[in-house]
Amino acid sequence: MSGILVYALHYDGAFNKNSLGAVSEGARLAGELGTECHAIVVGEGVSDDLAGQLGNYGATKVFRVNGPEGLAQPVVDAMAKVATDNGHDYLLFGGGLLGFEIGAGLAARLDAGVVMEVTEVEARDGKLVAKRPILKDSQVSDVHYRSKVGVIIGRLNAFEVKESGSAAAAVEDVDVEFQPHSLKATMVNRGEQRGGDVNIEDANVLVAGGRGLGKKEGFEQLEELARALGGAVAATRAVVDAGWFPYAGQIGQTGKTVAPKLYLAAGISGAIQHKVGMQSSENIVAINKDSNAPIFEFSDLGIVGDLNKIVPKLTEAVKAKKGS
């Protein structure tokens, strides 16, 4: 049979948002192609419960492989075997460095075409077409696959998480014989690459602060608002540079790329270097006292005013609404 195989990365008993987005997208595409979306999980002691959860996002079957977690080469072996045995036409990844590495490995192993940084996938004439921004995101190119198998690697958080299925997926165990070189690398230590404890890439709500906060203490009110909204706090390069906020929370060209449901920008002018890190957010709300600030050109809601007055009132209002 044919179909789409999606890699789902899990850690600490949960799938990351990016992977859930990829499974949701795989399910949507499989529906359009009239085929099935399968997922694959590699790890030690993955429970039926955890693997089966992917059914909620539209996976009809989950392949479970017992093997080292979070390393690329074992996953390449596992996916190569599963895809070959089951005849999957497309291998889909949510993105991230691990996805890039596995996808590249599979492309080499299976002689498959590979496209990375994909922001959209379309079913056209029974085949998938990957859309990929090029030339610094100024143009989008459509990429068609000529190879038997196509590898699609999404841009981080490009695919929306959608619960489409209702039942747990069937879990099928697969024995994979890992290549000797695949077991050479071992996980020594897991740490946040940029050293912080703020997980801004997975947050649905981000409250971001810029130099308009005036001083480091300005972040306290943002933290309070983020708590009220159930979100996290992020920052611009300028304030990270000034030492007001850790680098782990930096959004933009030289920081992280995020796409939360709500991005609230407080005291951020919105230079393009910042914009490229948050422009795919679903709703952008900006508070800035300068009505000429570029951020107002790409925000859904703009408030010209003093954030020191607006943010505390907003926090109160959110708390009041949630309390009721």
Binding site: K136, G214, R237, A238, V240, Q253, G255, A271, I272, P294
Partner: protein, 564 residues
């Protein structure tokens, strides 16, 4: 009133950037000739040297495993290269007598010089003043030309060390012995990150400084090796955009006047260029740039914003109509001319191109001098190394005997008369070109750019608000250069951060890349504390002219110019 030079940067370049090799002898990288800078001067030098060495296995052998190495701090050759490039093709044709495939946009088809009376009107100057005549010259993209030259140099056998900064000039017993490359992977405070790689001593039998308009080691050598000229070097800053347009534009246009002010007290010396870049199969492009001398006295003069203002002139609007900006960049230009040319050699060392101050200011030309001087340096180095000597003094004679020395002598008092304002200055310099420099004659002295006292004005009110389509802010330009410098690298900009407001504003407005910022709550007058954003820097060099000191960033950082 304060002058930026009253607040010198915390640096002693001769002591800090010149010294003996420090790596143990068996760990040094040995090359024959070390060339600093993969621009047209350095690459022409490499290519010419390898042409000469091709017929000389004996000297090639003596130069070792790596006869010619080119050290380039950009990601690729040309990455930091920018010019309003209407090139005199003489020297490149001599360098490649059998190969005319170097990338160009064809010969100049026509030209006009306009005097811009104001934001609406312009009058053509007829006949075209002699310095602006471009017949026989060719439009190129310097970044593109450099990439091509780098390929040719590698084909000929040069080793190109890209993403490598030359941070120290190695000098032992009064002889230049090579350079030291920069460390990589340091954090903001200079500490070693997990990916730290120390630099290396690259020792050479001859060293060529072809660093371009602002030379890190050139600056140190001028001080430490006593190469400085009679006059200080002075600079202009050019900011450039490339546009894709609907209708090909076939002329070369230069303008004088508006938005600059003609009065002598402003010392606003400069103008613009506009020319088409048309190539079969490509969308037609237009290169547009504005250049202003950095000795101006208005703290709020921003060349980037002057260019945006300039684009509002109907003459310019017509050319750019319906177009789209595809590139942006900035670069300083040495404008000191003849009297500011340093001594071009020291034992084991030569200076080429812009590093040697070789720009013809009235003709706005320097690319062909860079290529010529690179070739001449190669010929001297070849001859002297063959004779077992590191005395390269005959190179300087060769430069002065070539068209470089001749042209620069004839235009020796070019920029100085503009101290009397545009109209008087323009008349004097036209007469100068016609009389081949006999008029005004003598030696008109210059002063350092940073010695000009600066004052606050309301000029900034004239700058158009960027609309993101036709006029742009500085940071969108920086973004377009492909600059994505690591934020936690040590700052490569040495500058005094506590300065009077007018000096801080002069730097903030001048810098085309928004490197310098003044905190919003800083006092309106008196001392302020400058914020420096070194990762925005596009390596234009203006700050070195105006009282700071640029050093090379970590190799590979900075812009990635493609068609500038």
């Amino acid at each position: 009133m304060a002058a930026p030079s009253e607040y010198p940067p915390p640096v002693d370049s001769a002591a800090e950037f010149i010294g003996p090799p420090t790596d143990p002898e068996d760990e040094r990288i040995e090359v024959g000739v070390a060339i600093v800078g993969g621009g047209q001067a350095g690459l022409a030098c490499a290519i010419r040297l390898l042409q000469l060495l091709e017929g000389d296995p004996e000297l090639t052998e003596q130069l070792g495993e790596v006869p010619v190495a080119v050290v380039e701090k950009g990601k690729v050759a040309g990455a930091h290269q920018l010019s309003g490039a209407v090139m005199n093709p003489g020297p490149i044709r001599e360098l490649f007598p059998d190969d005319d495939a170097w990338p160009s946009y064809g010969p100049v088809e026509g030209e006009t010089v306009y005097f811009m009376l104001n934001g609406k009107r312009a009058v053509p100057l007829k006949p075209t003043p002699p310095p602006f005549r471009n017949h026989g010259n060719v439009v190129v993209s310097l970044a593109e030309l450099n990439r091509w030259l780098a390929e040719k140099a590698e084909e000929a056998g040069a080793y190109l060390l890209t993403e490598t900064a030359a941070t120290k000039l190695l000098v032992e017993d009064g002889v230049v012995r090579g350079i030291r490359t920069g460390d990589k992977g340091r954090d903001k405070d200079g500490g070693e990150k997990s990916n730290f790689e120390p630099g290396s001593d690259v020792v050479a039998q001859a060293t060529v400084l072809a660093e371009g308009c602002w030379g890190h080691l050139t600056g140190a050598a001028l001080k430490g090796l006593g190469l400085a000229a009679q006059d200080p070097q002075v600079w202009a800053l050019g900011v450039k955009e490339v546009w894709e347009v609907e209708q090909p534009f076939r002329k070369v246009v230069h303008t004088l006047g508006w938005p600059l002010r003609p009065g002598a007290k402003y010392k606003e010396f400069g103008g613009s260029w506009i020319y088409g870049m048309n190539r079969e199969g490509d969308k037609p492009k237009v290169s547009i740039g504005f250049v202003v001398g950095l000795d101006h006295t208005d703290a709020r003069l921003s060349v980037h914003d002057v260019l945006q203002e300039f684009k509002h002139h109907p003459l310019v609007r017509k050319i750019l109509a319906g177009g789209k900006r595809v590139a942006w960049g900035a670069k300083a230009i040495p404008e000191g001319g003849y009297w500011a040319m340093p001594k071009l050699h020291a034992p084991g060392l030569v200076l080429c191109g812009d590093a040697g101050g070789m720009v013809n200011v009235p003709r706005l030309k320097g690319i062909h001098y860079a290529i010529r001087s690179g070739m001449l340096a190669a010929e001297t180095i070849y001859g002297q190394l063959k004779a077992g000597s590191t005395d390269f003094s005959s190179y300087e004679e060769a430069v002065h005997d070539s068209e470089i020395g001749k042209d620069l002598w004839e235009s020796r008092n070019m920029k100085q008369p503009f101290g009397r304002g545009l109209v008087v200055g323009g008349a004097i310099t036209n007469a100068m070109v016609v009389t081949k420099g006999r008029f005004p004659g003598g030696h008109w002295a210059t002063h350092r750019d940073a010695d000009s006292p600066v004052t606050l004005s309301d000029r900034d009110k004239r700058y158009p608000k960027p609309d993101g389509k036709y006029t742009f802010d500085k940071l969108s330009g920086v973004f377009l250069t492909g600059n994505a410098t690591r934020d936690d690298a040590p700052s490569h900009i040495r500058i005094e951060k506590r300065v009077p407001r007018e000096v801080a504003e002069a730097w903030a407005w001048m810098c085309p890349a928004a490197v310098y910022e003044i905190p919003e709550d800083a006092p309106r007058s008196g001392q302020v504390d400058l914020i420096v954003n070194p990762s925005n820097c596009v390596q234009c060099g203006a700050i070195t002219a105006k009282g700071g000191r640029l050093t090379p960033p970590e190799g590979g950082d900075g812009p990635m110019y493609q068609i500038t």
